[in-house]
């Protein structure tokens, strides 16, 4: 009797032990990861600011940055040129790279979730092609004057990116609903059309060809604080706003019909997320150029490590995207000075092998 009883309870224990009911969402580990990544991001920012053609000691960098924060007084022990290099050259560049990485990664994760397609990236429905054409036109217009020290290329790229998506959106709409397949097809078709024009302008451009093609590959060769001040509110607010929709995106990974039957207002959610993701992508692209690879790979890498739950995937993508692009930009400017390698080349050359390594090691369903 006793034997039978203990055997039965043992089986129950084995059966119950498999599932940790008290922690179904595994949120503790994921929140810890977010905090650690945030600390890592700050370290990477300091590190990237001290590295460059003239290497500045880490402690000096920290002192200079801290001295800029109000209410903290630190006695100046460094040269004025060092301070200029850090505050007006490297700092805006590093911050811009971080913001751009965050925007592209979170927009990529959002697009992948909305389209339920692992191949989706922030450029899927025409932002990049629109921005590319806008930028090339900006290069060709001979007026060099600038508005708030913004050059014409950035302004035109921003307008071009948003304009292209607006056209795709209007073309892809069927009645009141927005079928995702139609949207992708409209995006791909308009993208091809715009690329054709861009390529034609590019080969007939003559002198400005070099500038244009390096813009199209992405990079932050002439960063200014004004760029940071313009993109920061759009990208920070937009990215945080998208994070609020984590659970809706989870439920939308069933098909749209099931998501609706689980109480999600699918059409409204799609519209809001598309608009916000497009806006932050356009903001990122207008200063950084068309940096490939970040938007598609970072969300997948995060998914491989921390799982598919969008409530964590979105914020973790923001942090990882930022860190990744700051480091990639650091490589772009330090590998063979004084020449800068276009950022798009660095992200793909170093990011792709890392991603393939993850893919091979984890061997689980990516999407």
């Amino acid at each position: 009797m006793l034997l039978v009883l203990s055997r039965e309870s043992a089986i129950v224990i084995i059966a119950e032990k498999k599932i940790d009911y008290t922690n179904p969402v595994k949120w503790k580990g994921r929140i810890l990861a977010s905090i650690l990544l945030f600390v890592l991001l700050l370290l990477v920012i300091f590190f990237a600011v001290s590295m460059g053609s003239s290497s500045i000691p880490f402690s000096t960098t920290i002192s200079i940055i801290l001295s800029k924060i109000p209410f903290i007084s630190i006695s100046e022990t460094w040269q004025g040129t060092t301070e200029t290099v850090i505050t007006s050259l490297r700092m805006p560049r590093v911050l811009l790279a971080g913001l751009t990485g965050a925007a592209l990664a979170v927009a990529g994760a959002t697009y992948q979730g909305l389209f339920r397609n692992p191949l989706a990236d922030p450029y899927l429905i025409g932002v990049s092609q629109g921005a590319g054409l806008g930028a090339v036109i900006g290069f060709l217009i001979p007026i060099s004057s600038s508005f708030w020290s913004l050059n014409l290329v950035s302004i035109f790229a921003f307008i071009g990116g948003l304009g292209a998506v607006f056209v795709v959106y209007s073309l892809g709409k069927v009645g009141k609903s927005l079928p995702m397949t139609t949207l992708i097809l409209a995006g791909v078709a308009l993208g091809a059309f715009l690329s054709a024009i861009t390529s034609y302008l590019l080969i007939t451009s003559g002198e400005s060809f070099r500038g244009m093609s390096s813009w199209l590959l992405g990079g932050f060769s002439s960063p200014k604080w004004i760029h940071v001040w313009i993109t920061m509110p759009v990208i920070v607010l937009g990215s945080l706003f998208i994070c609020l929709y984590g659970r809706s995106l989870n439920v939308m990974q069933f098909d749209e019909e099931q998501a609706q039957q689980l109480g999600i207002n699918v059409e409204q959610t799609k519209r809001i997320l598309l608009v916000v993701a497009t806006l932050i992508t356009a903001a990122a692209v207008s200063f950084g150029g068309i940096i490939g690879f970040v938007g598609i790979i970072i969300p997948h890498a995060v998914r491989l490590i921390w799982g598919p739950d969008f409530r964590f995937l979105l914020p973790l993508s923001i942090l990882c995207g930022s860190i990744f692009l700051i480091l990639a930009d650091l490589l772009a400017r330090t590998v063979m000075p004084p020449t800068e390698i276009p950022l798009g080349i660095v992200t793909a050359f170093f990011g792709a092998p890392f991603f393939l390594y993850l893919l091979k090691r984890k061997k689980k369903a990516v999407f």
Partner: protein, 265 residues
């Protein structure tokens, strides 16, 4: 007393009308079967009730209240759907999927609490899926997925369950278990159940009432014995069958006779 009533409902896609003049009531504690040939509008009916497609005419009342003004979330709190072939996101675990059934009950930024976890565990135990909890949906068989979507629907704690061919991917054992579970829940929890079914035998065994649809209209409505008759099946499906009565409970049984036996071969 939960009640879903359809009043002169017309449904369709774009210009095409699929269902018209549909009047029906689904009462708590009752399993209502919807049968009819392919394309007669069974799935459309379920989409219309959950407002996935807009009403073209008539009205749907949930506990005497029109569903026209209420939000998608309010409908989902009362009405759960078990879809025909559920597309489940492959990377999520079975437990995460069932837990998503709690969506309509949670506020915008709320996280699943212990109460939600308990409800999900209970739903998974009822549907015999608890041992799958940590498996990814992509690794599960068709039958396991089907039971998982039923568990998700139960986690919604609905008062009304709509099932679209709930047994289509299941072997005979799970067909019986699923329908037993649903009719048990229906009686015990006083749920109102609407099940679109292909199998006339299962419909006859498990439904209290059957509605037979044909060409977008209600062809016949009544008890299994009244609806499942050789004449009705011939008229609606165009199929020649024999209707016998079940040796144990006298309910109608549809028998198929292969044509090669007609001439005494």
């Amino acid at each position: 007393m939960q009640k879903l009533s359809l009043k002169n409902v017309t449904l369709g896609y774009g210009e095409t009308i699929v269902l018209s003049g549909i009047d029906m009531e689904i009462l708590s504690g009752e399993v209502l079967g919807i049968v009819g040939p392919n394309g007669c509008g069974k799935s459309t009916l379920i989409k219309g009730i959950t407002r996935v497609i807009p009403l073209k005419g008539g009205d749907i009342l949930l506990n005497e209240r029109s569903t026209k003004g209420i939000s998608q979330n309010d409908i989902a709190r009362t009405v759960a759907v078990v879809p025909q072939s559920a597309a489940l996101p492959e990377a999520f675990t079975a437990f995460e999927i069932v837990l998503m059934g709690r969506t309509p009950h949670m506020k915008f930024l709320e996280y699943e609490g212990q109460k939600d976890v308990d409800i999900a565990v209970k739903a998974m135990k009822m549907t015999d899926t608890i041992h799958l909890a940590e498996r990814r949906a992509g690794e599960l068989s068709g039958g396991e997925r089907q039971r998982l979507t039923i568990a998700r629907a139960l986690a919604q704690q609905p008062q009304i369950i709509l099932l679209d061919e709930p047994t289509s991917h299941l072997d005979i054992n799970y067909q019986i278990e699923t329908l037993e579970l649903i009719s048990e829940l229906c009686k015990k929890e006083r749920l109102a159940v609407l099940a679109a079914l292909h199998d006339l035998n299962l419909a006859a065994q498990y439904c209290d009432r059957i509605i037979m649809l044909n060409k977008g209209r209600i062809f016949n409505e009544g008890t299994p014995c009244e609806v499942v008759t050789a004449i009705n099946v011939k008229q609606v499906y165009g199929a020649d069958v024999c209707i016998s009565s079940h040796p144990v409970n006298r309910l109608p049984v549809t028998l198929v006779t292969g044509s090669r036996w007609h001439n005494g071969n």
